[in-house]
Symmetry: C2
Subunit: 326 residues, 2 copies
């Protein structure tokens, strides 16, 4: 038991604020707000702080600009929505302002924005005494009432994951050990951490076709993010260890099977989508799911709040051990 | 000439980004986004950084929560819009997290939000290595096409100001000199700086009745904010020094007339509204303007980019000397 567990986490704090002030729009990847009779707006904000969420000697200004937008686009994707516009607040110390850092940062941001046709509509530029701080805001649109929430899953739903998991955590580990992106033989793993790709197209596919009952993006880590869905949907889950789509090459840089599973389950920042699907819906689009390489990893259960990890026919309780700030 | 003038300001940087990436929604107090056939959404974001925008030993957590929302509501008011919802990202170091700071901060935020029926719909909570950082996002609604921009003023329009100016700068000066809010005889001046009131009702009045051709809130300072309107509207302005509504008691704490005028013109953070009105519109609602204590301070001129300050029949060029980060 870590000493951290003795302090209130940011999740507990937010839950507390949400209840006290009766905030119905809080608790998902994005807030869902009515736009017009046919459309809802979804919107999210992500704060990125130097030496907490990134380190300047690990990344590049362009990667950081890319990632700042990517993490928010990932939240929009997790609602099944199409991203439309964004805002960006940037605070930098004077010595950074004097360099071409901010120019390059925006270059990275705009390169990703262009890919998804996202318009920058506002922002703020401020001085800080010391560290860089970024607040990224992104908004998207989805058919009225069709945003995919965390709360819609039912026992019996099948659990799927896009892409592979553990890469961002492995990349982080390499960076912590002193690996530099330039000239690295692990560029792809490092890019998982430094330049993640939001699953925008997949989110829109799942959302526009009403395929998912619940969805979240993998930001904190699979164990924690699955726990968020379970909490909001008042369900439990059973996950098969041998069905987890580990990131390629993950084994080559991990010392043990335990470490590999830890990266994949608790590592966070993979920005893949975790979603639930009704069995009858899955059978209807099995081929499409295969083509898109979605991984079936388990089922939602009626055992509310309990997540079981099943490996070699043994079953253990999976505790949410993803990233927390406090 | 200050050394600062040799470096690019954040205004120049933003203007540069705006042109390079052809960003049509940038350059006003809020972005204006189509909502439905009858309504536009306006949205703004403001970054507040410890030891740049506020100091913990000058303010209280409740005041800071209030001000974080107030500065964004002020931007919404400057569009003539009604505030509807907000988001709030907060980053704090561990030692602050362990105290009741964040609880009290939210308490101050929600007290103001309740006053204007603003709903908190999202946000982020993060750890920082050292300083507190806040990003405040607020959105409002206005009739389609009726948002009051900075760009709508024409030569001949009359220039008005709500409330009084210079109070926030005087409050800041007192704080810098070591004055403490508790037990101070200058509580009202200090409150101008620590707990500003957004002109939400006035903004809605001017917006809903189409009275203003251009509007901005006094955040950087009257000289700079008027220059922003002049730039966007491609006009000049003439301001009468003896018509500037100095904050009561400003004289008692300033050493000279020059210092007093400097606070009022360049001080910033008064969060009053500066707006332009066609003469024929003004004559139609002169009584209402009087009742609301709007101050007529000058006229828009065809002399694009030139702001003249007229005092005792002498005229001088007013340089924008409001707050800038860089």
């Amino acid at each position: 038991v870590s000493i951290k567990l003795l302090e209130k986490s940011e999740f507990e704090f937010i839950e507390n604020i949400r209840r006290r002030y009766n905030l119905s729009k809080i608790g998902d990847d994005c807030a869902v707000l009515p736009k017009d009779s046919k459309t809802d707006l979804v919107i999210t904000t992500d704060l990125l702080v130097e030496d907490i969420d990134f380190r300047l000697n690990w990344t590049t200004p362009e990667f950081l600009g890319h990632k700042s937008l990517a993490v928010s686009l990932s939240d929009v994707a997790a609602m099944g929505a199409k991203p439309i516009w964004a805002m960006l607040s940037v605070g930098v110390p004077l010595q950074i302002w004097k360099t071409d850092f901010v120019e390059k940062f925006y270059k990275g941001w705009f390169a990703l924005a262009k890919k998804f046709n996202v318009e920058l509509v506002g922002g703020d530029v401020s001085k800080t005494p010391d560290k860089i701080v970024i607040d990224s805001i992104a908004a998207g649109e989805v058919k009225r009432g069709k945003a995919v929430l965390r709360s819609g899953a039912k026992a019996g739903d099948l659990i799927f994951l896009t892409g592979e998991t553990g890469g961002a955590a492995a990349g982080l580990k390499l960076l912590e050990k002193g690996e530099k992106y330039k000239n690295s033989r692990y560029k792809k793993l490092l890019a998982c951490q430094l330049k993640p790709n939001p699953q925008t197209e997949t989110g829109m596919f799942l959302g526009s076709r009403n395929l998912a009952t619940a969805m979240i993006d993998l930001s904190d880590g699979l164990s924690s993010d699955l726990a968020h869905i379970c909490q909001e949907s008042k369900i439990g889950a059973a996950i098969y260890a041998d069905r987890i789509p580990f990131r390629k090459n993950l084994k080559s840089i991990t010392k043990s099977e335990t470490e590999k599973i830890d990266y994949a389950l608790n590592g966070g920042e993979d920005y893949e989508l975790l979603f639930m699907v009704k069995p009858k819906i899955f059978f209807r689009c099995e081929n499409e799911f295969k083509k898109r390489r979605f991984s079936y990893i388990g089922e939602a259960t009626a055992n509310a709040g309990i997540i079981k990890l099943i490996s070699n026919e043994k079953s253990s309780i999976l505790q949410p051990k993803g990233f927390r700030h406090f």
